[in-house]
Protein backbone atom coordinates (compact mmCIF):
# COMPACT_ATOMS: atom_id res chain seq x y z
CA UNK A 1 0.00 0.00 0.00
CA UNK A 2 1.41 3.27 -1.07
CA UNK A 3 1.21 5.89 1.66
CA UNK A 4 3.63 8.43 0.39
CA UNK A 5 3.47 11.86 2.07
CA UNK A 6 3.26 13.34 -1.42
CA UNK A 7 0.12 11.34 -2.14
CA UNK A 8 -1.41 12.38 1.18
CA UNK A 9 -0.70 16.00 0.30
CA UNK A 10 -1.98 15.69 -3.27
CA UNK A 11 -5.30 14.27 -2.07
CA UNK A 12 -6.04 17.00 0.51
CA UNK A 13 -8.67 18.89 -1.47
CA UNK A 14 -10.53 15.77 -2.60
CA UNK A 15 -10.58 14.19 0.83
CA UNK A 16 -11.55 17.33 2.69
CA UNK A 17 -14.49 17.83 0.32
CA UNK A 18 -15.75 14.33 1.14
CA UNK A 19 -15.94 14.72 4.94
CA UNK A 20 -19.39 14.88 6.51
CA UNK A 21 -21.38 13.49 3.56
CA UNK A 22 -24.35 11.19 4.10
CA UNK A 23 -25.17 7.92 2.37
CA UNK A 24 -26.77 4.48 2.75
CA UNK A 25 -25.05 1.09 2.95
CA UNK A 26 -25.63 -1.02 -0.19
CA UNK A 27 -23.40 -4.00 0.63
CA UNK A 28 -21.23 -5.00 3.56
CA UNK A 29 -18.71 -7.67 4.50
CA UNK A 30 -16.50 -8.30 7.54
CA UNK A 31 -12.83 -8.74 6.74
CA UNK A 32 -11.42 -11.41 9.04
CA UNK A 33 -8.13 -12.11 7.28
CA UNK A 34 -6.83 -8.57 6.94
CA UNK A 35 -4.33 -6.89 4.67
CA UNK A 36 -0.85 -6.25 6.05
CA UNK A 37 -1.31 -2.77 7.49
CA UNK A 38 -4.73 -3.57 8.89
CA UNK A 39 -3.86 -6.60 11.01
CA UNK A 40 -4.51 -4.96 14.36
CA UNK A 41 -7.89 -3.63 13.28
CA UNK A 42 -9.34 -6.97 12.16
CA UNK A 43 -12.07 -8.02 12.10
CA UNK A 44 -13.55 -4.88 10.55
CA UNK A 45 -16.46 -4.23 8.20
CA UNK A 46 -16.01 -2.84 4.68
CA UNK A 47 -19.06 -1.28 3.07
CA UNK A 48 -20.15 -0.01 -0.32
CA UNK A 49 -22.20 3.14 0.27
CA UNK A 50 -24.55 4.95 -2.07
CA UNK A 51 -23.90 8.63 -1.32
CA UNK A 52 -26.60 11.30 -1.45
CA UNK A 53 -25.08 12.63 -4.66
CA UNK A 54 -25.68 9.27 -6.36
CA UNK A 55 -22.07 8.07 -6.42
CA UNK A 56 -20.93 4.85 -4.81
CA UNK A 57 -17.99 4.76 -2.42
CA UNK A 58 -16.17 1.93 -0.65
CA UNK A 59 -14.76 2.30 2.85
CA UNK A 60 -14.24 0.87 6.30
CA UNK A 61 -17.18 1.11 8.71
CA UNK A 62 -16.25 2.46 12.17
CA UNK A 63 -18.00 2.89 15.55
CA UNK A 64 -20.31 0.07 14.45
CA UNK A 65 -22.55 -2.49 16.09
CA UNK A 66 -24.11 -5.68 14.62
CA UNK A 67 -27.39 -3.90 14.01
CA UNK A 68 -25.71 -1.42 11.63
CA UNK A 69 -24.63 -4.15 9.20
CA UNK A 70 -27.73 -4.01 7.07
CA UNK A 71 -28.48 -2.72 3.61
CA UNK A 72 -30.06 0.72 3.89
CA UNK A 73 -28.30 1.72 7.12
CA UNK A 74 -27.63 5.46 7.08
CA UNK A 75 -24.00 6.48 7.43
CA UNK A 76 -21.91 9.65 7.34
CA UNK A 77 -18.33 10.00 6.10
CA UNK A 78 -15.67 10.87 8.69
CA UNK A 79 -11.93 11.42 8.65
CA UNK A 80 -9.93 8.84 10.56
CA UNK A 81 -6.43 7.43 10.69
CA UNK A 82 -6.03 4.91 7.89
CA UNK A 83 -4.12 2.27 9.87
CA UNK A 84 -1.46 1.74 12.52
CA UNK A 85 1.66 2.88 10.79
CA UNK A 86 5.32 2.12 11.54
CA UNK A 87 6.99 4.40 14.07
CA UNK A 88 8.71 6.50 11.43
CA UNK A 89 5.90 6.67 8.87
CA UNK A 90 3.71 9.63 7.99
CA UNK A 91 0.22 9.45 9.54
CA UNK A 92 -2.31 8.83 6.78
CA UNK A 93 -5.81 10.21 7.19
CA UNK A 94 -8.62 8.74 5.09
CA UNK A 95 -12.40 8.75 4.65
CA UNK A 96 -14.29 6.08 6.57
CA UNK A 97 -17.99 5.65 7.32
CA UNK A 98 -19.85 5.85 10.63
CA UNK A 99 -23.47 4.78 11.26
CA UNK A 100 -25.79 7.68 11.97
Amino acid sequence: MITSPVKLWRRHKNVSAQIGKKGKILLWTIIRVPAKSFTDQAPYPVVIVKMQNGENMIGQLVDWQEKDLVSGCEVVSVLRRLRTEDKEDIIYYNIKFKPL
Binding site: L26, T29, I30, I31, I48, M57, I58
Partner: protein, 381 residues
Protein backbone atom coordinates in the same frame (compact mmCIF):
# COMPACT_ATOMS: atom_id res chain seq x y z
CA UNK B 1 -5.39 -17.61 -40.76
CA UNK B 2 -5.75 -20.64 -38.52
CA UNK B 3 -3.99 -20.56 -35.15
CA UNK B 4 -3.07 -24.07 -34.01
CA UNK B 5 -1.85 -25.37 -30.70
CA UNK B 6 1.16 -27.64 -31.12
CA UNK B 7 2.42 -27.97 -27.58
CA UNK B 8 0.80 -27.75 -24.15
CA UNK B 9 2.17 -28.52 -20.70
CA UNK B 10 1.76 -27.60 -17.05
CA UNK B 11 3.78 -28.28 -13.92
CA UNK B 12 2.10 -29.69 -10.87
CA UNK B 13 0.46 -26.78 -9.02
CA UNK B 14 0.96 -26.40 -5.29
CA UNK B 15 3.48 -25.27 -2.70
CA UNK B 16 6.56 -26.04 -4.76
CA UNK B 17 9.06 -24.98 -2.11
CA UNK B 18 12.14 -26.40 -3.79
CA UNK B 19 11.30 -25.51 -7.39
CA UNK B 20 12.53 -22.15 -8.64
CA UNK B 21 10.68 -20.03 -11.21
CA UNK B 22 13.39 -20.81 -13.77
CA UNK B 23 13.01 -24.54 -13.14
CA UNK B 24 9.22 -24.34 -13.49
CA UNK B 25 9.57 -22.47 -16.76
CA UNK B 26 12.15 -24.89 -18.14
CA UNK B 27 10.01 -27.92 -17.31
CA UNK B 28 6.97 -26.73 -19.26
CA UNK B 29 8.99 -25.30 -22.13
CA UNK B 30 10.78 -28.61 -22.66
CA UNK B 31 7.56 -30.63 -22.42
CA UNK B 32 5.69 -28.35 -24.79
CA UNK B 33 8.53 -28.51 -27.31
CA UNK B 34 8.60 -32.30 -27.07
CA UNK B 35 4.89 -32.56 -27.68
CA UNK B 36 5.14 -30.27 -30.69
CA UNK B 37 8.18 -31.97 -32.21
CA UNK B 38 9.85 -28.53 -32.43
CA UNK B 39 13.19 -27.19 -31.24
CA UNK B 40 13.81 -23.92 -29.39
CA UNK B 41 15.16 -22.45 -32.59
CA UNK B 42 11.73 -22.93 -34.17
CA UNK B 43 10.21 -20.47 -31.73
CA UNK B 44 9.97 -16.87 -32.98
CA UNK B 45 8.90 -15.10 -29.79
CA UNK B 46 8.11 -15.65 -26.13
CA UNK B 47 5.11 -14.13 -24.33
CA UNK B 48 4.98 -14.41 -20.55
CA UNK B 49 1.92 -13.93 -18.36
CA UNK B 50 2.80 -13.05 -14.76
CA UNK B 51 1.47 -10.69 -12.07
CA UNK B 52 3.61 -10.75 -8.95
CA UNK B 53 7.21 -11.20 -10.02
CA UNK B 54 8.00 -7.54 -9.43
CA UNK B 55 5.93 -7.09 -6.27
CA UNK B 56 6.98 -10.28 -4.47
CA UNK B 57 10.27 -11.23 -6.14
CA UNK B 58 11.67 -7.82 -6.97
CA UNK B 59 12.18 -9.15 -10.51
CA UNK B 60 10.94 -7.19 -13.50
CA UNK B 61 12.18 -7.80 -17.06
CA UNK B 62 10.67 -11.25 -16.93
CA UNK B 63 10.67 -11.75 -20.70
CA UNK B 64 14.44 -11.36 -20.79
CA UNK B 65 14.90 -13.70 -17.83
CA UNK B 66 12.77 -16.53 -19.14
CA UNK B 67 14.08 -16.41 -22.68
CA UNK B 68 17.35 -17.61 -21.13
CA UNK B 69 15.55 -20.80 -20.08
CA UNK B 70 14.42 -21.29 -23.68
CA UNK B 71 18.05 -20.98 -24.75
CA UNK B 72 17.46 -18.66 -27.69
CA UNK B 73 17.54 -14.86 -27.60
CA UNK B 74 14.28 -14.14 -29.37
CA UNK B 75 11.80 -11.29 -28.79
CA UNK B 76 10.32 -11.73 -25.32
CA UNK B 77 7.53 -9.89 -23.51
CA UNK B 78 5.78 -9.93 -20.18
CA UNK B 79 2.07 -9.19 -20.24
CA UNK B 80 0.15 -8.33 -17.09
CA UNK B 81 -3.53 -8.02 -16.23
CA UNK B 82 -3.63 -9.38 -12.69
CA UNK B 83 -5.13 -12.89 -12.73
CA UNK B 84 -5.89 -12.57 -16.45
CA UNK B 85 -2.20 -12.21 -17.31
CA UNK B 86 -2.09 -15.67 -18.91
CA UNK B 87 -5.10 -15.10 -21.15
CA UNK B 88 -3.84 -11.65 -22.11
CA UNK B 89 -0.39 -13.03 -22.96
CA UNK B 90 -2.00 -15.62 -25.23
CA UNK B 91 -4.17 -12.97 -26.89
CA UNK B 92 -1.11 -10.86 -27.65
CA UNK B 93 0.72 -13.90 -29.04
CA UNK B 94 -2.25 -14.73 -31.27
CA UNK B 95 -2.33 -11.14 -32.54
CA UNK B 96 1.38 -11.16 -33.30
CA UNK B 97 0.93 -14.23 -35.50
CA UNK B 98 -2.13 -12.80 -37.22
CA UNK B 99 -0.19 -9.62 -37.90
CA UNK B 100 2.42 -11.69 -39.68
CA UNK B 101 5.21 -10.60 -37.32
CA UNK B 102 5.86 -14.09 -35.90
CA UNK B 103 4.88 -17.57 -37.05
CA UNK B 104 5.38 -19.82 -34.03
CA UNK B 105 5.20 -18.45 -30.49
CA UNK B 106 5.62 -19.96 -27.04
CA UNK B 107 3.29 -18.54 -24.39
CA UNK B 108 4.20 -19.14 -20.78
CA UNK B 109 2.16 -18.41 -17.66
CA UNK B 110 4.09 -18.51 -14.42
CA UNK B 111 3.77 -17.51 -10.77
CA UNK B 112 5.81 -18.09 -7.61
CA UNK B 113 3.74 -17.12 -4.59
CA UNK B 114 4.95 -19.25 -1.69
CA UNK B 115 8.33 -17.57 -1.21
CA UNK B 116 6.50 -14.65 0.43
CA UNK B 117 4.53 -14.67 3.70
CA UNK B 118 0.75 -14.92 3.68
CA UNK B 119 0.54 -11.29 4.80
CA UNK B 120 2.73 -10.10 1.95
CA UNK B 121 0.83 -12.16 -0.60
CA UNK B 122 -2.59 -10.97 0.61
CA UNK B 123 -1.28 -7.47 0.31
CA UNK B 124 0.26 -8.07 -3.13
CA UNK B 125 -2.98 -9.48 -4.54
CA UNK B 126 -4.73 -6.26 -3.62
CA UNK B 127 -2.74 -4.68 -6.44
CA UNK B 128 -5.40 -6.19 -8.72
CA UNK B 129 -7.96 -3.80 -7.32
CA UNK B 130 -8.13 -0.05 -6.91
CA UNK B 131 -6.60 2.45 -4.51
CA UNK B 132 -9.99 3.11 -2.93
CA UNK B 133 -10.45 -0.62 -2.31
CA UNK B 134 -6.97 -0.93 -0.79
CA UNK B 135 -7.44 2.07 1.47
CA UNK B 136 -10.79 0.71 2.62
CA UNK B 137 -8.87 -2.37 3.76
CA UNK B 138 -10.86 -4.43 1.23
CA UNK B 139 -8.81 -7.54 0.53
CA UNK B 140 -9.38 -9.46 -2.69
CA UNK B 141 -11.70 -11.98 -0.94
CA UNK B 142 -13.43 -8.95 0.62
CA UNK B 143 -14.35 -7.52 -2.76
CA UNK B 144 -15.77 -10.85 -3.96
CA UNK B 145 -17.56 -11.24 -0.64
CA UNK B 146 -19.49 -8.05 -1.39
CA UNK B 147 -20.45 -9.54 -4.76
CA UNK B 148 -21.51 -12.76 -3.05
CA UNK B 149 -23.77 -10.87 -0.66
CA UNK B 150 -25.42 -9.00 -3.54
CA UNK B 151 -25.90 -12.20 -5.56
CA UNK B 152 -27.27 -14.29 -2.70
CA UNK B 153 -29.72 -11.56 -1.77
CA UNK B 154 -30.88 -10.78 -5.32
CA UNK B 155 -31.47 -14.39 -6.37
CA UNK B 156 -32.20 -16.02 -3.03
CA UNK B 157 -29.16 -18.27 -3.28
CA UNK B 158 -27.90 -20.07 -0.17
CA UNK B 159 -24.37 -20.57 1.15
CA UNK B 160 -24.92 -24.28 0.47
CA UNK B 161 -25.58 -23.59 -3.19
CA UNK B 162 -22.35 -21.60 -3.46
CA UNK B 163 -20.45 -24.30 -1.59
CA UNK B 164 -21.39 -26.83 -4.28
CA UNK B 165 -18.92 -25.05 -6.61
CA UNK B 166 -15.99 -25.96 -4.36
CA UNK B 167 -17.34 -29.48 -3.84
CA UNK B 168 -17.56 -30.06 -7.60
CA UNK B 169 -14.11 -28.69 -8.26
CA UNK B 170 -12.51 -30.75 -5.52
CA UNK B 171 -14.14 -33.88 -6.96
CA UNK B 172 -12.65 -33.03 -10.35
CA UNK B 173 -9.29 -32.37 -8.67
CA UNK B 174 -9.17 -35.96 -7.41
CA UNK B 175 -8.99 -36.97 -11.09
CA UNK B 176 -6.18 -34.54 -12.05
CA UNK B 177 -2.62 -35.63 -11.19
CA UNK B 178 -1.39 -32.05 -11.52
CA UNK B 179 -3.92 -30.56 -9.09
CA UNK B 180 -2.81 -28.94 -5.81
CA UNK B 181 -5.64 -30.57 -3.83
CA UNK B 182 -6.61 -34.12 -4.65
CA UNK B 183 -9.11 -34.86 -1.89
CA UNK B 184 -12.89 -34.54 -2.01
CA UNK B 185 -14.77 -32.15 0.30
CA UNK B 186 -18.42 -31.93 1.33
CA UNK B 187 -20.85 -29.01 1.55
CA UNK B 188 -20.54 -29.26 5.31
CA UNK B 189 -16.76 -28.98 5.12
CA UNK B 190 -17.15 -25.72 3.24
CA UNK B 191 -19.75 -24.30 5.61
CA UNK B 192 -17.65 -25.18 8.64
CA UNK B 193 -14.40 -23.70 7.33
CA UNK B 194 -13.21 -20.45 8.93
CA UNK B 195 -14.62 -17.19 7.59
CA UNK B 196 -12.29 -15.09 5.47
CA UNK B 197 -14.64 -12.22 4.56
CA UNK B 198 -18.30 -12.76 5.32
CA UNK B 199 -19.97 -14.74 3.70
CA UNK B 200 -16.92 -16.31 2.01
CA UNK B 201 -15.15 -19.02 3.99
CA UNK B 202 -11.74 -20.63 3.53
CA UNK B 203 -13.10 -23.38 1.28
CA UNK B 204 -14.91 -20.83 -0.89
CA UNK B 205 -11.52 -19.38 -1.83
CA UNK B 206 -8.84 -20.58 -4.22
CA UNK B 207 -5.44 -21.20 -2.63
CA UNK B 208 -2.01 -19.59 -2.89
CA UNK B 209 0.02 -21.65 -5.35
CA UNK B 210 3.17 -21.95 -7.41
CA UNK B 211 3.12 -23.24 -10.96
CA UNK B 212 3.76 -22.71 -14.63
CA UNK B 213 2.07 -23.66 -17.89
CA UNK B 214 3.09 -23.26 -21.51
CA UNK B 215 1.54 -23.57 -24.95
CA UNK B 216 3.13 -23.36 -28.36
CA UNK B 217 0.92 -21.83 -31.03
CA UNK B 218 1.55 -21.38 -34.72
CA UNK B 219 0.09 -19.82 -37.82
CA UNK B 220 1.90 -22.34 -39.98
CA UNK B 221 1.15 -26.07 -40.03
CA UNK B 222 2.80 -28.92 -38.17
CA UNK B 223 4.84 -31.86 -39.42
CA UNK B 224 4.14 -33.88 -36.32
CA UNK B 225 0.48 -33.16 -35.59
CA UNK B 226 -2.03 -34.06 -38.28
CA UNK B 227 -5.07 -32.15 -36.98
CA UNK B 228 -3.97 -29.77 -34.27
CA UNK B 229 -6.46 -28.11 -31.94
CA UNK B 230 -7.30 -24.60 -33.18
CA UNK B 231 -7.94 -21.31 -31.42
CA UNK B 232 -11.06 -19.93 -33.08
CA UNK B 233 -11.63 -16.95 -30.82
CA UNK B 234 -9.45 -14.80 -28.58
CA UNK B 235 -11.34 -11.82 -27.15
CA UNK B 236 -10.72 -9.30 -24.38
CA UNK B 237 -12.99 -6.82 -22.65
CA UNK B 238 -12.49 -4.42 -19.74
CA UNK B 239 -14.68 -2.78 -17.11
CA UNK B 240 -14.13 -0.41 -14.15
CA UNK B 241 -11.28 -1.26 -11.82
CA UNK B 242 -13.36 -0.85 -8.65
CA UNK B 243 -16.34 -3.03 -7.88
CA UNK B 244 -18.29 -0.07 -6.49
CA UNK B 245 -18.08 1.79 -9.82
CA UNK B 246 -19.82 -1.02 -11.72
CA UNK B 247 -23.38 -0.92 -12.99
CA UNK B 248 -24.08 -4.38 -11.59
CA UNK B 249 -22.72 -6.23 -8.57
CA UNK B 250 -24.05 -9.61 -9.72
CA UNK B 251 -22.71 -9.84 -13.26
CA UNK B 252 -19.31 -9.13 -14.80
CA UNK B 253 -19.84 -7.00 -17.87
CA UNK B 254 -16.31 -7.72 -19.11
CA UNK B 255 -17.20 -11.43 -19.23
CA UNK B 256 -20.49 -10.83 -21.01
CA UNK B 257 -18.86 -8.61 -23.59
CA UNK B 258 -15.73 -10.70 -24.23
CA UNK B 259 -17.70 -13.94 -24.52
CA UNK B 260 -20.27 -12.27 -26.77
CA UNK B 261 -17.46 -11.18 -29.11
CA UNK B 262 -15.92 -14.66 -28.95
CA UNK B 263 -19.17 -16.44 -29.80
CA UNK B 264 -19.76 -14.03 -32.67
CA UNK B 265 -16.23 -14.38 -34.07
CA UNK B 266 -16.37 -18.16 -33.96
CA UNK B 267 -19.97 -18.46 -35.10
CA UNK B 268 -20.84 -20.47 -31.99
CA UNK B 269 -23.47 -20.38 -29.21
CA UNK B 270 -23.05 -21.15 -25.50
CA UNK B 271 -24.81 -24.47 -25.95
CA UNK B 272 -22.10 -25.50 -28.44
CA UNK B 273 -19.51 -25.57 -25.67
CA UNK B 274 -18.72 -29.09 -24.40
CA UNK B 275 -16.12 -28.26 -21.80
CA UNK B 276 -15.01 -25.01 -20.16
CA UNK B 277 -12.33 -23.81 -17.77
CA UNK B 278 -13.86 -21.16 -15.51
CA UNK B 279 -11.98 -18.64 -13.38
CA UNK B 280 -13.29 -19.69 -9.95
CA UNK B 281 -11.02 -17.55 -7.77
CA UNK B 282 -13.98 -17.80 -5.35
CA UNK B 283 -17.06 -20.01 -5.44
CA UNK B 284 -19.19 -16.95 -6.24
CA UNK B 285 -17.04 -16.29 -9.34
CA UNK B 286 -18.05 -19.54 -11.01
CA UNK B 287 -21.72 -19.10 -10.09
CA UNK B 288 -21.80 -15.71 -11.78
CA UNK B 289 -19.53 -16.78 -14.65
CA UNK B 290 -21.75 -19.61 -15.92
CA UNK B 291 -24.56 -17.07 -16.16
CA UNK B 292 -22.45 -14.39 -17.85
CA UNK B 293 -21.16 -16.97 -20.35
CA UNK B 294 -24.71 -17.99 -21.22
CA UNK B 295 -24.55 -21.55 -19.82
CA UNK B 296 -27.15 -20.85 -17.13
CA UNK B 297 -30.04 -18.43 -16.81
CA UNK B 298 -29.44 -15.31 -14.74
CA UNK B 299 -29.72 -16.19 -11.06
CA UNK B 300 -29.59 -19.94 -11.69
CA UNK B 301 -25.80 -20.39 -11.93
CA UNK B 302 -25.21 -21.62 -8.39
CA UNK B 303 -28.32 -23.76 -8.34
CA UNK B 304 -27.39 -25.41 -11.67
CA UNK B 305 -23.98 -26.29 -10.26
CA UNK B 306 -25.64 -27.65 -7.12
CA UNK B 307 -27.80 -29.81 -9.39
CA UNK B 308 -24.59 -31.14 -10.99
CA UNK B 309 -25.31 -29.67 -14.43
CA UNK B 310 -21.66 -28.63 -14.73
CA UNK B 311 -20.15 -31.77 -13.13
CA UNK B 312 -18.07 -34.40 -14.96
CA UNK B 313 -20.01 -37.38 -16.28
CA UNK B 314 -23.32 -35.89 -15.17
CA UNK B 315 -23.66 -32.42 -16.60
CA UNK B 316 -24.18 -30.88 -20.03
CA UNK B 317 -21.46 -28.19 -20.20
CA UNK B 318 -18.67 -29.51 -17.97
CA UNK B 319 -16.91 -26.75 -16.05
CA UNK B 320 -13.42 -26.97 -14.54
CA UNK B 321 -12.53 -30.58 -15.28
CA UNK B 322 -9.02 -29.61 -14.12
CA UNK B 323 -10.38 -28.88 -10.65
CA UNK B 324 -10.55 -25.19 -11.41
CA UNK B 325 -8.66 -22.60 -9.44
CA UNK B 326 -10.04 -24.00 -6.21
CA UNK B 327 -8.67 -27.54 -6.42
CA UNK B 328 -6.06 -27.38 -9.17
CA UNK B 329 -4.57 -24.26 -7.63
CA UNK B 330 -4.15 -20.66 -8.72
CA UNK B 331 -0.61 -19.53 -9.48
CA UNK B 332 -2.00 -16.26 -10.74
CA UNK B 333 -0.15 -15.68 -14.02
CA UNK B 334 -0.14 -19.38 -14.92
CA UNK B 335 -3.89 -20.01 -14.63
CA UNK B 336 -4.90 -18.54 -18.00
CA UNK B 337 -2.46 -20.80 -19.84
CA UNK B 338 -3.22 -23.86 -17.70
CA UNK B 339 -6.83 -23.43 -18.77
CA UNK B 340 -5.73 -23.63 -22.42
CA UNK B 341 -3.65 -26.74 -21.67
CA UNK B 342 -6.62 -28.43 -19.98
CA UNK B 343 -8.99 -27.71 -22.87
CA UNK B 344 -6.36 -28.77 -25.41
CA UNK B 345 -5.93 -32.12 -23.68
CA UNK B 346 -9.71 -32.59 -23.44
CA UNK B 347 -10.12 -31.93 -27.17
CA UNK B 348 -7.23 -34.29 -27.96
CA UNK B 349 -8.96 -36.95 -25.81
CA UNK B 350 -5.88 -37.12 -23.58
CA UNK B 351 -7.50 -36.27 -20.24
CA UNK B 352 -7.47 -39.79 -18.81
CA UNK B 353 -9.82 -40.28 -15.87
CA UNK B 354 -11.41 -36.86 -16.27
CA UNK B 355 -12.10 -37.09 -20.01
CA UNK B 356 -15.27 -35.41 -21.22
CA UNK B 357 -16.49 -37.91 -23.82
CA UNK B 358 -16.62 -36.55 -27.35
CA UNK B 359 -15.50 -33.07 -26.40
CA UNK B 360 -15.06 -31.05 -29.57
CA UNK B 361 -15.43 -27.41 -28.53
CA UNK B 362 -13.97 -25.82 -25.41
CA UNK B 363 -13.88 -22.37 -23.81
CA UNK B 364 -11.53 -20.70 -21.32
CA UNK B 365 -12.65 -17.83 -19.06
CA UNK B 366 -9.80 -15.90 -17.41
CA UNK B 367 -10.58 -12.84 -15.27
CA UNK B 368 -8.35 -10.12 -13.81
CA UNK B 369 -9.13 -8.46 -10.48
CA UNK B 370 -12.80 -8.33 -9.59
CA UNK B 371 -13.75 -8.25 -13.27
CA UNK B 372 -11.77 -5.32 -14.61
CA UNK B 373 -10.51 -7.44 -17.51
CA UNK B 374 -11.56 -10.75 -19.05
CA UNK B 375 -9.90 -12.94 -21.64
CA UNK B 376 -12.10 -15.51 -23.42
CA UNK B 377 -10.67 -18.16 -25.74
CA UNK B 378 -12.59 -20.74 -27.73
CA UNK B 379 -10.79 -23.85 -28.98
CA UNK B 380 -12.05 -26.55 -31.26
CA UNK B 381 -10.99 -29.76 -32.88
Amino acid sequence: MIISILGASTTKFGELWNVSPRAMAKEVMVNALNMSGLKSSDIDALYVGNMLSGILGNQANLGSLLVEELGVFIPAFRVEGACASGGLALHNAVNSIKAGQYKTVLVLGIEKMTDASLDETTNALMAAGSDEERMAGATFPGVYALMAQAYMKQYNVSEEDLASVSVKNHYHGTLNPKAQFRFPITINDVLKSPKIADPLKLLDCSPISDGAAAVIITGGGSKKIKKPIRIVASEIATDTLSLHDRKSFTSLHSVVEASHKAYKKSGLKPTDIDVAEIHDCFSISEAIAVEDLGFSKKGEGARDIAKEKRTLFKGDIICNSSGGLKACGHPVGATGIKQIVEITEQLRAESGERQVKGAKIGLTHNVGGSGAVTAIHILRV
